[in-house]
């Protein structure tokens, strides 16, 4: 590992709170170790800002290993930055060159309010799950786990969909700020598994209704979501959601 350092310029979104209008701030950053992660670079910038008596840049992050789904900004126009299939915390500065000007913006969507700087409120995702993204099984009432065999291929497909980390990059990337990939991942996971079938119809209807209510845009099949998804969730799931939704809307009988 050789140590290279680069000098860059950040053009970063600053917004004091949800009510503030916000603006871009230009911050030159010198001597960035190219082995740093992008967030570690922001850490060092913040250290400096604190010592200068300025307000550090607020950004969400937690596990820093790409699984919690907390981090995420739009870097140079792309959610989570230029790396395919990776969250922002896994982006390293070796991806950038000397003299680069890097634009850093928060997720932009009517449904995700900016709280401060790069932090947004993704509560809409939680409310979508709360409206049906579960199997109604109380603790203690489960049958033996092997009582219901599930073909390996089905389990794998369900796992593909379940890999969603709820980061919101799909919404950020979608030209329409649609949440279809997120919703379809959960609907698919539970629609594929026999445990989820009893509530499949109701789940699809309710989760889509909540999604619409939260103010996300509509899916236009741009596939930007799939391209931006750090977990490479496929839009095949969106087609499955559509099927589940139509089946439910047309065939299910009112309870």
């Amino acid at each position: 590992m050789s140590t290279d350092t680069i000098n860059i310029t950040l053009k970063v979104w600053r917004q004091k709170n949800a009510a503030d209008k916000g603006r871009f701030e230009t911050i030159p950053v010198s001597g960035v170790d190219s082995h740093m992660s992008f967030l570690e670079m922001l850490d060092t910038v913040n250290e400096k800002l604190i010592l200068e008596g300025k307000d550090p840049i607020a950004f969400d992050n937690d596990c820093r290993e790409g699984i919690c789904g907390t981090c995420g900004c739009v870097v140079d126009g792309i959610p989570h930055g230029p790396n395919k299939a990776m969250t922002l915390c896994q982006l390293h500065m070796r991806k950038f060159d000397e003299g680069d000007v890097i634009a850093v913006e928060p997720w932009r969507s009517r449904a995700f309010k900016v709280l401060k700087d790069l932090m947004v409120d993704r509560g809409a995702f939680d409310r979508i799950i709360q409206s049906g993204g579960y199997v109604s099984v109380n603790t203690g009432s489960a049958p033996d786990a092997n009582a219901l065999p599930i073909p390996m291929a089905v389990a794998e497909k369900a796992m593909d969909a379940a890999a969603c980390i709820g980061c919101g990059a799909c919404v950020a990337a979608c030209p329409n700020a649609s949440a279809m990939l997120f919703v379809s991942a959960k609907v698919s996971q539970l629609a594929l598994l026999p445990q989820g079938r009893p509530e499949a119809a109701e789940r699809a209807l309710k989760m889509v209704a909540t999604m619409d209510r939260e103010g996300f845009g509509n899916c236009s099949n741009h596939r930007s979501c799939e391209a931006a998804c750090p977990k490479e969730i496929s839009i095949v799931n969106i087609a499955r959601l559509n099927r589940e939704f139509f089946k439910a809307g047309v065939l299910s009988e009112p309870i």
Partner: protein, 637 residues
């Protein structure tokens, strides 16, 4: 202090049944009158909040992240143990119990651990029913693997994302209750104090991280499921928001802290690169199933790993522990890595790394098989280190990962403060001096789904519905105290940032209170911690303002806790003048460099009672009684 572990009478196998039969129940119609606060939404907290709400209690749940789905349980990779014995390879509840007790080097309570093994099977059933996509065999049955030194295949997994999938299962159950209005969820809240009225926990003060406001919440009982204190080492595999705050506030309010020196160092992490580094990334130890660990025999060997012939390599684990080889328990693997590096055999730019080599596995099984098993881990490693593990061996080094110590709890998971319960990693109860791989998920979910829902009933039934609300003066006092503390921190206006000081604390802890400890080092550490604490309160520069989102202020509060807590840790390590599990006192080793226990003097839980800022805590102990297993010297030869 009178300590009662409340271990139920009767033979080990019957204790949990006996307890449940004798436990007082809360009338179903009355349950909704009881308000319960659950702090934390990980496996333990999420499962508890959901299950208690299902039972009918009025639950308020708090999490520090922006969503309950992001608790750090999500980062667990490898799997979850259960005594299902699906592979028919000789597993049983008794064997899981015995392995856990023995793995913990006989420093955990028999009754708690046996209960854990008993409910382990229910967890798998519950999770499968929730739609957790566990790995399956072609016939559709659940797949198991052997994990972290176990000689049976009892680990259930969902690719390398078991923690994520189990957490999302608990999160879905919790979400269902939130949607139904049975749980009120508060996200982006950090517990800053526990409110006691009389000697009983009556509520909490939580910081609203977005507005900075101190909010008050009253309840009939408070349940802490706030995880461990691994970030005391600064660099650890834990998430950025992991901290000891909640448990430490409980300690300051009178709860005893048990075995703080029992911390687990995970052997397979990506080594540190530079000073800027914010965390160490763990790679599942399932990698040790197929990877072989080695270092060059000659410290001056600078050849690329692929160019070093077999004859010049030292596969030190396979040589020292022929029957377990690379699958020795975590502490043994970690300690040996440190030993090799201390002897100058380490590799990589810092000399603090060893090779984990997959060349033989790839030759044996083919690249595809290895990619299917570990593909995501290999990709992750490649991205971080810029090396391709399919081509060249990985470099690994141990990192702080899990803390076995925690708030002391009795069999009912109640701390020494009445009405304050602790679950999961936040308590000390089940792992003794060392936790086995794939057992953290098991314990978190056991506590949340299957223990606390039963054990909180008797307390509530005894106490009746609380009449104390947030108007009580104790809430105003606690909130004012917390706000005052913030003001104090902001007013220091010194020259060192919180991160800088935390890094300094971490260095002391890693060097002296890490994988191997000795008397002189621990005494030195205590002095260094005290000096750092003093410097912190005179020279920290927090920045930002009160009454707005202020991460630095949050972190300053957490570091302030650590600067007190670290001393308790070092003191505990110093007082436990024996080696056991992960706690290796260099003075006490067998001839084979194994931890040498001293059962005569230290077969107890060490507990610490807060006596005030800067003054030494008071020591208590709960003797450990083993009626069902024989204390043996652990040997992985």
């Amino acid at each position: 202090m009178q300590l009662d572990g409340k271990i139920p009478a009767g033979p080990l196998r019957d204790k949990w049944d006996n307890y449940r039969f004798k436990a007082k129940l809360v009338n179903p119609a009355n349950k909704r009158k009881y308000k319960l606060i659950v702090v934390g939404s990980g496996l333990a907290g999420g499962a508890a909040a959901a299950t208690l709400a299902e039972l009918g209690y009025d639950v308020e749940c708090f999490c520090i992240q922006d969503s309950p789905r992001r608790a750090h349980s999500i980062a667990a990779q490898g799997g979850i143990n259960a005594a299902k014995n699906y592979p028919n390879d000789g597993d049983s509840i008794w064997r899981l119990f015995y392995d856990t007790i023995k793995g913990g080097d006989f420093r955990a309570r028999e009754a708690n651990v046996y209960r854990l093994a008993q409910v382990s099977n229910n967890i798998i059933d519950q999770c499968a029913a929730q739609g957790v996509p566990f790995a399956r065999e072609y016939g559709g049955m659940l797949s198991n693997r052997s994990f972290g030194g176990a000689q049976v295949s009892r680990t259930f997994y969902a690719r390398g994302q078991t923690g994520q999938q189990l957490l999302l299962g608990a999160y879905s159950a919790l979400s269902r209750q939130i949607g139904a209005g049975k749980v009120k969820m508060h996200t982006r809240r950090e517990l800053v104090d526990i409110v006691l009225v009389g000697d009983r926990a009556r509520g909490i003060i939580a910081r609203n991280l977005v507005t900075g406001e101190m909010e008050r919440f009253a309840a009939d009982a408070v349940i802490l499921a706030t995880g461990g204190y691994g970030t005391v080492f600064y660099l650890s595999t834990n998430a950025d928001s992991c901290n000891v705050g909640a448990a430490f506030k409980a300690y300051k309010r009178g709860a005893l802290f048990a075995n703080p020196c029992f911390t687990q160092i995970h052997p397979t992490c990506i080594p540190q690169g530079g000073d800027y580094q914010a965390k160490l990334t763990l790679m599942s130890e399932s990698l040790r199933n197929d990877g072989r660990i080695w270092v060059p025999k000659d410290p001056s060997d600078t050849r690329a790993p692929r160019d070093i012939p077999e004859s010049d390599r030292s596969y030190y684990l396979e040589e020292k522990y022929p029957s377990f080889g690379n699958l020795v328990p975590r502490d043994v693997a970690s300690r040996n890595a440190k030993e090799q590096c201390d002897a100058g055999l380490g590799v990589g730019p810092t000399g603090y790394a060893v090779y984990l080599d997959f060349a033989d596995a790839i030759k044996r099984d083919g690249r595809d098989v290895i990619a299917r098993k570990y593909g995501n881990l290999f990709d992750m490693y490649h991205n971080i280190s810029d090396d391709d593990p399919y081509e060249t061996p990985m470099m690994i080094y141990p990192a702080s990962h899990y803390t076995m110590g925690g708030l002391w709890v009795d069999y009912e998971l109640q701390t020494t403060i009445p009405g304050l319960f602790a679950l999961g990693e936040a308590n000390f109860s089940d792992h003794g001096a060392n936790r086995l791989g794939a057992s953290a998920l098991m314990q978190g979910l056991a506590d949340g789904y299957f223990v606390i829902p039963y054990t909180i009933g008797p307390f509530l039934a005894d106490q009746g519905v609380s009449e104390v609300g947030v108007e009580h003066q104790a809430f105003a006092d606690a909130a004012a105290e917390a706000a005052e503390n913030d003001r104090k921190l902001l007013a220091i206006e010194g020259r060192r940032t919180v991160r800088d000081l935390h890094r300094a604390l971490g260095k002391v802890m890693v060097d002296e209170v890490g994988m191997a400890r000795n008397e002189a080092g621990l005494k030195k550490a205590i002095g260094a911690i005290q000096a750092l604490r003093e410097e912190f309160w005179q020279n920290v520069k927090v920045g930002g303002e009160q009454g707005n989102f202020n991460l630095a202020l949050q972190k300053a509060g957490r570091l302030a806790d650590y600067l007190e807590f670290a001393e308790v840790m070092a003191l505990d390590a110093l007082t436990r003048d024996e080696s056991c599990g992960c706690h290796l006192r260099e003075e006490h080793q067998t001839e084979e460099h194994e931890a040498q226990r001293n059962d005569e003097d230290f077969c107890h839980v060490a507990m610490w009672e807060y006596t005030g800022f800067g003054s030494a805590p008071e020591f208590h102990k709960e003797p450990l009684v083993f009626e069902n297993v024989e204390l043996s010297q652990r040997s992985y030869k």
